[in-house]
């Protein structure tokens, strides 16, 4: 029987229990739903989870990508080698996570640094994709922090792409739905950590409660600082309310070194304006204009042609005829 609910996962390292467990990530755990304002308050609040990616430990092996492909059963195209390490060339609807490689000449130490960042959805506390989405229920946020795309409700418009501060969602050319990292919500639901974290051979990817991950990060940052990385730090950008995928960076003062990781990501004010006041005011203005026209139509006197004017028109036309006749005569 699957009556017992799975525990909330606290690590990606544990193996699954042998007995089958029921999902512990329920529809009632949703705290935000795209294009929906009246989401019922959840009965319980799950512990917030997070993935911590320690860039300083990453060796660029792409085991995380392989694990992601395997777990999500996606089939990224085999592409041309164009002389870069990224493979595939970019995030795609079939590749939810991507190692991005940056060659950096550190001007302070004069040393060459190979910065490798595992790119993918950051699971923002304030998700821009969800804000931009016009389709009710296509994007949801669970109380544990996971932002998930529900393909059945997705219409493939690509507004999430405009909303995302990190350039993550990709719309499938065949299924016409938007795709991205789910933080393995289907694994988390049954007490397991994300596939990428489980596969990582150097433990550059950790998974657990957000609290535990912040703590782990501070240990790592301390260690890095003791080794001369004075600007090491945690990337948990507050501009989007913090994220549920965080990085330990050796150069936390310059996130953009890492293949353009935004220094201060936030939902664009343009998107906020478009999805905030513009919608309400726009609809109100259009509604008022329509109502005004209807009221005017009911209460105001119509602009009607009089019989006198019909006569005037006949005279006018006749006049012209006559004048013409005079000229001809």
């Amino acid at each position: 029987m699957t009556s017992e609910r799975a525990p909330e996962p606290v690590t990606a390292a544990a193996n699954p229990p042998l007995q089958p467990l029921a999902s512990n990530l329920l529809p009632s755990d949703v705290i935000r739903v795209s294009a929906t304002s009246d989401v019922p308050a959840p009965e319980r609040h799950l512990t917030e989870v997070a993935k911590l990616i320690d860039v300083s430990k990453c060796i660029g092996c792409k085991a995380c990508q392989s694990a992601c492909i395997e777990w999500n059963d996606t089939h990224p195209d085999i592409e041309e080698n164009v002389g870069v390490y990224e493979n595939p060339h970019d995030l795609t609807p079939d590749m939810f996570t991507l190692m991005r490689f940056t060659e950096y000449e550190n001007p302070v130490t004069n040393e060459f640094e190979w910065l490798i960042r595992k790119d993918g959805c950051m699971h923002c506390a304030d998700p821009g994709c969800l804000k931009a989405c016009p389709a009710p229920g296509a994007i949801v946020q669970y109380s544990n922090g996971i932002v998930d795309f529900i393909s059945d409700n997705c219409i493939g418009c690509g507004y999430c792409i405009a909303g995302c501060p990190f350039n993550i969602p990709r719309v499938s050319k065949t299924a016409h739905v938007s795709k991205k990292c789910t933080l393995c919500s289907d694994r988390v639901a049954v007490g397991q950590g994300p596939a990428c974290a489980k596969a990582c051979p150097t433990k550059a990817i950790s998974f657990g409660t957000k609290e535990a991950m912040v703590e782990l990060a501070s240990e790592r940052v301390e260690d890095l600082k003791s080794r001369g990385y004075d600007h090491a730090g945690l990337y948990d950008p507050q501009g989007v309310g913090g994220t549920h995928v965080m990085y330990v960076l050796h150069h936390a003062d310059q996130p953009s070194l890492y293949a353009g990781l935004p220094d201060d990501p936030q939902i664009s004010p343009v998107v906020r304006g478009w999805k905030g006041p513009a919608k309400t005011v726009g609809l109100a203005v259009a509604g008022l204009a329509a109502a005004g026209a209807v009221l005017h139509g009911i209460f105001a006197r119509p602009n009607e042609v009089t019989a006198h004017e019909e006569g005037e028109a006949e005279d006018l036309v006749e006049d012209h005829d006559q004048r013409h006749g005079d000229r001809e005569a």
Binding site: A35, T36, S37, P134, A135, P136, N153, I155, G156, C157, G158, Y159, I161, A162, C164, N167, V171, H176, S268, V270, V271, G273, W274, A278, K279, G282, L283, V285, A286, A289, A290, A293, H296, G297, A300, R301, P302, N303, E304, V305, T306, A307, E309, E310, G311, E312, A313, E314, L316, V317, E318, D319, H320, D321, H324
Partner: protein
């Protein structure tokens, strides 16, 4: 010898004299107008359904969100093509003229039913010209920004920051389009005798005398000098 047309378009002519009826739009132009109108209505409904969550249910008319997302830009292109044809037929007579200034200043008289205080006009009044040029400009904005956010065929045409601006401008332009649409439709209803110009193609002489007297005068003057007669 045919007098040069200043206030009228080819095809405009006095149809009957007792009572006077005037041909305002040829069948071809009327068809062109209604194709454009049908596109516009589909675009407004499908666009509004994606503009505000409370209107998302309107996507059901088109068979769901996916179809609506696909259909909207296609119909947009049909509208652009159709509107271009209308534009080619109407732009000249919609150029601003001296009398438009006075007409606009006295628009209060028009609304109060004192149209006799307003100057004589050609085929279009200043309000109609605003609708014409407003629509023309907005359609250019809408198609430009629309292509920029057309995920299915142009996903990488512009950068993401540009796309954000495009989608916001598209929504804003759509609101203005709705306002002009309302003005256009309501003005045609309020000004009795107007709609038949786009259905049967003719208006009464009185209508032409009241609203577009210079246009009527020109057509009356051209009557017998028409070489085709």
């Amino acid at each position: 010898m045919t007098e040069e047309r200043v206030y009228s378009a080819p095809g405009d002519k006095i149809e009957t004299k007792h009572p006077v009826t005037v041909n305002r739009y040829r069948g071809y132009t009327r068809l062109n107008h209604w194709v454009t109108a049908a596109c516009m209505i589909v675009l407004l409904i499908s666009g509004l359904s994606l503009f505000h969550p409370s209107l998302f249910f309107l996507t059901d008319i088109f068979g769901g969100g996916q179809t609506t997302r696909w259909l909207h830009p296609i119909v947009g292109l049909v509208l652009v093509a159709s509107f271009l044809l209308l534009f080619a037929q109407m732009w000249k007579l919609n150029l601003p003229r001296r009398e438009d200034v006075e007409w606009s200043r006295k628009i209060g008289d028009l609304l109060q039913g004192n149209e006799e205080n307003l100057p004589e006009l050609g085929k279009y009044n200043a309000g109609q010209k605003v609708v014409f040029w407003g629509m023309s400009g907005l359609i250019v904005v809408l198609v430009t920004t629309g292509v920029m956010i057309w995920e299915q065929y142009f996903p990488h045409l512009v950068s993401i920051p540009a796309r954000r601006i495009a989608v916001a401008v598209h929504s804003l332009a759509a609101i203005f389009t709705i306002l002009i649409f309302i003005v256009h439709v309501y003005a045609a209803i309020w000004t009795r005798g107007t709609i038949r110009a786009m259905t049967r193609g003719t208006v009464t002489g009185g209508w032409a005398f009241r609203h577009h007297r210079k246009w009527l005068r020109e057509l009356a003057g051209r009557q017998r000098s028409d070489p085709s007669k």
